[in-house]
């Protein structure tokens, strides 16, 4: 379906919109200041950083307000900043596109980002490197905003890599832990694999269109040869897989939980990992030109949503359960994005609600850990609902939202996706449905293991509620988890239509048959989970099992093993082979040719016997030689 003509050309920024760049610049500059100023800024660094994000948030809100009251045709605004470079026929501008899609992201990023900054003031209070943490967070905010506000793929890519860097820095923030350092490296490298897709996509766009701006690509996409449309689509999908931890590039996300919990909440739940979804939606014109690429997205998404859920069922680490859940939920978003125009708005819708409730739950988990001496093993929790009332209450809101309890945020956003999936393909729909059930199962398991049942606290642990600076963000996010679905349900489709070219569906609060089925499945999941985990006691050590499903889940579906077997081991072997070839092949050849010359030299020197008569003989031989040569040259 060709929908490009519905997309309005963005207007050039005026007034408030000319300030848009400060959203990015202020956190970026603050990050630089904090890093360069060093210890001088230890005392006030975190406050400055928080202020910087609040500034960005304020701008985002103002712009959003501006757009709300502008007429639909002039909502999308482009703010050119400067010409980055140009070469040949290609020119690369740095410009911001503040349209209906990006402003939602900007608000999510800065809004959740602000809350997490505030939360972190408390969470990281005792860390001696807190200033550095805030600098990295600000760096992330700036890069993420650049990613979503860019008006062309290249600048997007800059942000894309920027968030990758920030993610690396923050995952391995506690560098003295080898596991954290390794996790950071792993995340960056696997992201880089995805980045190849991005790079290839941009290169293809340049080759195809001579430009990488969204406008040009969207306008030209319908002219693509099918195979190139598919190629570009697959490249973009690869990029999205890397950033959004979709199968097959999913393995880094669980390890990324080595980072401080606010990082997990902000980057690896609410914002960065959803960038893949943003990319696919942003590139809708390309995908619409290639059904094959769309199908690939759908397949990847479905596999991931099930895989993530599967992982979530078997992990004991609270953050890893949430991480599995994140994978799964992003799978839903990707699924929606892959479905096509029918799903774009739902993808973004779920992305936003997920941003709220998942951030909420991650911060909640952080709060729990804060009270449990940074223990993450749920088997050491239990009965925390009384010890941490605020945490429990807010976490419960998030829980209800994610399982899709009626009228909570997830109820709207996820149901729409499942419905759209059914409309697309029954099998996919069933998979999505099953995923919802599993989600309910593992989230209930998490709730039960953490907040209910008997105390399984380790000696010396005295759970306590977190300080206000941490609970207030939790409350705000909990509220968002509850209401955001209801607020946006009717509005978002229409709002996004000019930006992503979706079709507005009629949505109502009354459950459709699919919605009813979903509720039924979710209820079943909750009940089964209760039957398994709610009644008996939970062993403090994970019981040994031969159940392949559990084993696979605990081992993250053997993603690391697969990567090791397919990539790490061969790469190591190749590196060793290269080393050996250089040392024992090329160098040996060079050295032994030197030796050969030395040997030859010894032989040549033997001709100098020291006997004058042999010299004379050599001369006479020379005379004969000369004669022979002369004769031969006459013959020839």
């Amino acid at each position: 379906m060709i929908l490009f003509e519905t997309i309005a050309e963005p207007v050039v920024a005026t007034g408030m919109f000319t300030w848009a760049w400060t959203m990015i610049a202020v956190p970026a500059v603050v990050a630089g200041v904090l890093l360069l100023a060093g210890k001088l800024s230890d005392a006030w660094g975190h406050l400055l950083a928080t202020a910087a994000v609040l500034w960005s948030f304020a701008i985002a809100v103002c712009l959003f307000g501006h757009q709300l009251f502008a007429d639909a045709g002039s909502r999308a605004v482009v703010a050119p900043l400067y010409s980055w470079f140009s070469v040949g026929e290609w020119s690369f501008e740095v410009g911001l596109l503040v349209d209906q899609l990006s402003i939602l992201f900007a608000m999510l990023i800065t809004g959740v980002g602000s809350l997490i900054h505030i939360y972190s003031i408390g969470y990281m209070a005792h860390d001696e490197r807190r200033r550095r943490f805030f600098a990295y967070l600000n760096l992330f905010i700036a890069a993420m905003l650049l990613l979503v506000l860019a008006n062309n793929y290249l600048v997007l890519f800059v942000g894309w890599e920027g968030v990758g860097l920030a993610s690396f820095l923050l995952i391995s923030f506690w560098q003295h832990k080898p596991s954290a350092a390794a996790a950071g490296t792993k995340a960056f490298v696997m992201n880089r694999v995805g980045d190849l897709g991005m790079l290839a996509a941009i290169a293809s766009m340049l080759a195809m269109f001579g430009s990488s701006s969204f406008t040009d690509v969207n306008a030209g996409a319908h002219g693509l040869a099918p195979q190139w449309a598919t190629m570009i689509g697959l490249f973009l999908l690869l990029a999205a897989c890397g950033k959004s931890a979709q199968v097959p590039l999913q393995a880094w996300l669980l390890d990324a939980m080595e980072g401080p919990t606010p990082v997990s909440a902000l980057i690896h739940a609410a914002t960065m990992v959803t960038a893949g979804v943003y990319l696919v939606v942003r590139s809708h014109a390309v995908f619409e030109t290639s059904p094959a690429a769309q199908l690939a997205v759908v397949v990847v998404a479905t596999v991931t949503l099930l895989a993530g859920a599967w992982i979530g069922t078997s992990q004991d680490d609270i953050k890893k359960v949430l991480a599995g859940s994140t994978m799964s939920q992003i799978g839903y978003m990707m699924l929606a994005a892959g479905i096509g125009p029918a799903g774009y708005a739902f993808a973004i819708f779920h992305l936003l609600t997920h941003g709220f409730f998942k951030a909420n739950m991650f911060l909640g988990a952080g709060s729990v850990m804060h009270g449990m001496n940074d223990d993450v093993n749920m088997r050491h929790y239990g009965a925390l609902s009384t010890a941490m009332k605020w945490t429990f209450g807010t976490f419960a809101m998030g829980y209800l939202a994610i399982i899709g309890f009626p009228l909570f945020a997830g109820y709207f956003s996820k149901d729409h996706i499942i419905e759209a999936a059914f409309a697309q393909n029954t099998f996919i729909g069933i998979c999505a449905l099953i995923g919802a059930g599993i989600t309910a199962f593992y989230m209930t398991r998490l709730m039960l293991m953490t907040f209910f049942g008997e105390k399984r606290w380790q000696p010396g642990v005295h759970p306590h509620e977190s300080p206000r600076v941490m609970t207030i963000p939790l409350v705000i996010l909990a509220v968002a988890s509850v209401v955001s679905g209801l607020v946006m349900n009717n509005w978002i489709q229409e709002w996004l239509e000019p930006a992503v070219g979706n079709h507005a569906h009629e949505v109502s609060l009354v459950p459709t048959p699919v919605g009813m089925a979903t509720m039924g499945i979710v209820a079943a999941g909750v009940v089964i989970s209760y039957l398994v985990f709610g009644r008996g006691s939970i062993p403090v050590k994970a019981p040994a099992t031969n159940n392949p499903i559990t084993l696979a889940g605990r081992n993250v579906l053997f993603g690391d093993q697969v990567n090791d077997a397919l990539f790490v081991t061969p790469a190591t072997a190749v590196a060793a082979a290269v080393d050996a070839t250089d040392a024992r092949g090329i160098d040996k050849a060079a050295d032994s040719s030197a030796d050969a010359f030395a040997g030859l030299s010894t032989q040549v020197r033997r001709l100098e016997t020291g006997y004058v008569r042999s010299y004379a003989l050599t001369m006479l031989g020379g005379v004969l030689f000369v004669g022979v040569v002369l004769i031969l040259s006459q013959l020839g």
Binding site: L35, S83, W84, F85, S86, V87, G88, E89, W90, L154, F157, V158, W160, E161, G162, L165, F168, S172, Q175, H176, K177, P178, A180, A181, G184, T185, F188, V189, R192, V193, L196, L199, A200, I202, A203, S204, L206, A207, M208, F209, G210, S211, D216, G220, G223, L224, A225, W228, A571, T572, V574, A575, A576, A577, V578, D579, D582, I586, D587, A590
Partner: protein
């Protein structure tokens, strides 16, 4: 006649170097050396200013009349980029090597050799006559040899000889081509070694190919490309960081510089003929170098191997024959100089404290020397071409430019981008992170980088960051060279496939 700025620019450091050979106090020698380097920097910037103002800087005086060789100097965008890189890096290297390693030759000699090397390199980048180029091309080897032999690590003799022999081998093969050029030039009228005159001859066919191959082999060794690269890791490992910086950052650029100026400039037809081979050759270098870096157990070797990989990208860009890729390659040359300098110098700082370049010898440094670790990370990020660093822009130009002509080749070469992340971050992970080892605690506690060491890094990283965000000046500087070469070769960019998209 106007003042011969270019001659002056090249002679100034050489004179300084010769002056430094006279006996004098150590302190005075170093200050004098630095003074000459700074003066050269000033003159270099002045030349850049004149160039920007559109002044005609060309010098052309008969040099060896019997052979039609000229003392011909001129700069184009590429030349100026290399000149500026050289004049900026030299004083920094001097500051970084203010105290040469104990038990080696004196700082005075180091400074003298560095200055001579600088002057000779400047002439290489400015020479507009093939013989003149060749003269300085080979002459740079001598001070470099002594820099390795006089100040390097335990196996410096082996490394220096290997370096010199590989380079000389290439250079002498090139000499055969230089000689051949004369024969052709002389047979077609008055012999002239001026690049412009030779370019007019359009030497095609078998002769052109063979002559081109002679040049190419020299530049392949210089650049260095697999399989003629093994001298570089050894040379880097067994020289001081400052020497390695000049060697890899400046001297090796002559390889790619020469490919553009001489292979493409003099033998367009033959260069096109060599393209399929060179493109794959470049890809092999990219991957080989990257894997070599991954397998390295020594920091200097690692950086050297990364350079092999990066040179692969430069060569790929050159032989893709698009404006983007070629401009990207030239820009890459500039960036790589700074990026490698950053890597080598930081590695040098670390090794100076630890007393070893072995990766295994480090661990947990970040905890006790965060600034050193941070600078290593930033340098590493520039090596892996992170956006925001100028290296990204150039690598992007190379990749996208090449893609528009050879998508499959480019796709294979892009594996190198991932491997770059692997070798940089693994190195960082193994040396800087993790628990603080005993050795680290002993050697690094309270010994984070000094003010001078930090100050040295400022201009290097500053250039990388500035050109990362504002690459336009550099891109504009190098693009005319790329355009001229492509026009000379007679190749135009592939047009966008989808018409009217823009």
């Amino acid at each position: 006649m106007t003042f011969p700025w270019l001659t002056f620019l090249g002679l100034l450091p050489i004179l300084g170097g010769l002056l430094l050979l006279l006996p004098m106090g150590k302190g005075a020698a170093r200050l004098l050396g630095l003074g000459f380097a700074l003066a050269t920097l000033a003159v270099g910037l002045g030349v850049a200013g004149l160039y920007a103002a559109g002044a005609d800087l060309a010098v052309q005086v008969p040099w060896i009349r019997a052979f039609g060789a000229w003392w011909a100097l001129d700069v184009d965008g590429m030349g100026l980029a290399m000149v500026l890189m050289t004049v900026v890096l030299t004083p920094l290297v001097m500051l970084a090597e203010w105290q040469p390693p104990a038990g080696r030759w004196s700082a005075q000699v180091f400074f003298a050799l560095v200055l001579m090397l600088q002057g000779l390199s400047l002439f290489v980048f400015m020479a507009n006559d093939v013989v003149l180029f060749y003269l300085f091309f080979e002459a740079t080897l001598i001070p470099t040899y002594f820099l390795i032999v006089g100040f390097g690590g335990p196996r410096r003799r082996y490394a220096a000889v290997k370096f010199l022999l590989f380079s000389l081998a290439g250079g002498l093969i090139m000499l055969a081509s230089v000689v051949g050029l004369f024969a052709i030039s002389a047979s077609q009228g008055a012999p002239s070694y001026l690049v412009a005159d030779l370019a007019q001859l359009s030497i095609d066919g078998h002769v052109g190919r063979w002559l081109m191959v002679g040049f190419l082999i020299a530049f392949i060794i210089k650049a260095p490309m697999v399989p003629l690269h093994t001298w570089l890791p050894d040379a880097a490992e067994h020289s001081t960081p400052g020497t390695a910086t000049l060697l890899v950052g400046v001297l090796d650029k002559i390889g790619t510089f020469g490919m553009i100026k001489f292979c493409l400039g003099l033998f367009p037809e033959a260069s096109l003929w060599a393209t399929p081979f060179m493109v794959w050759f470049a890809v092999v270098s990219i991957l080989w170098g990257a894997f070599g870096a991954i397998g390295s157990r020594n920091l200097m070797r690692l950086v050297a191997y990364t350079s092999v990989s990066h040179f692969g990208f430069m060569v790929l860009g050159i032989y893709a024959f698009t404006q983007a890729s070629l401009s990207g390659s030239i820009f890459y040359m500039l960036n790589h100089g700074f990026s490698t300098a950053a890597m080598f110098l930081v590695v040098g700082y670390l090794a100076k404290r630890r007393g070893s370049y072995d990766i295994e010898a480090f661990g947990g440094v970040q905890k006790v020397a965060p600034v050193a670790a941070g600078l290593l990370l930033v340098s590493g990020l520039s090596a892996l071409s992170l956006p925001g660093m100028s290296t990204f822009v150039s690598e992007f130009m190379v990749i996208t430019g090449t893609w528009s002509r050879y998508p499959v080749v480019t796709a294979v070469s892009m594996i190198g981008v991932v491997l770059a992340a692997v070798y940089v971050l693994r190195m960082y992970q193994r040396t800087m992170t993790g628990p603080v080892t005993d050795a680290t605690a002993t050697h690094f506690t309270g010994r984070d980088l000094t003010g001078l060491e930090r100050a040295i890094m400022v201009p290097i990283l500053g250039v990388l960051l500035f050109l990362g965000f504002v690459p336009a000046p550099a891109a504009q500087l190098v693009e005319p060279t790329a355009q001229a070469i492509l026009a000379h070769v007679g190749v135009t960019d592939p047009a966008p496939v989808v018409k009217g998209a823009k």
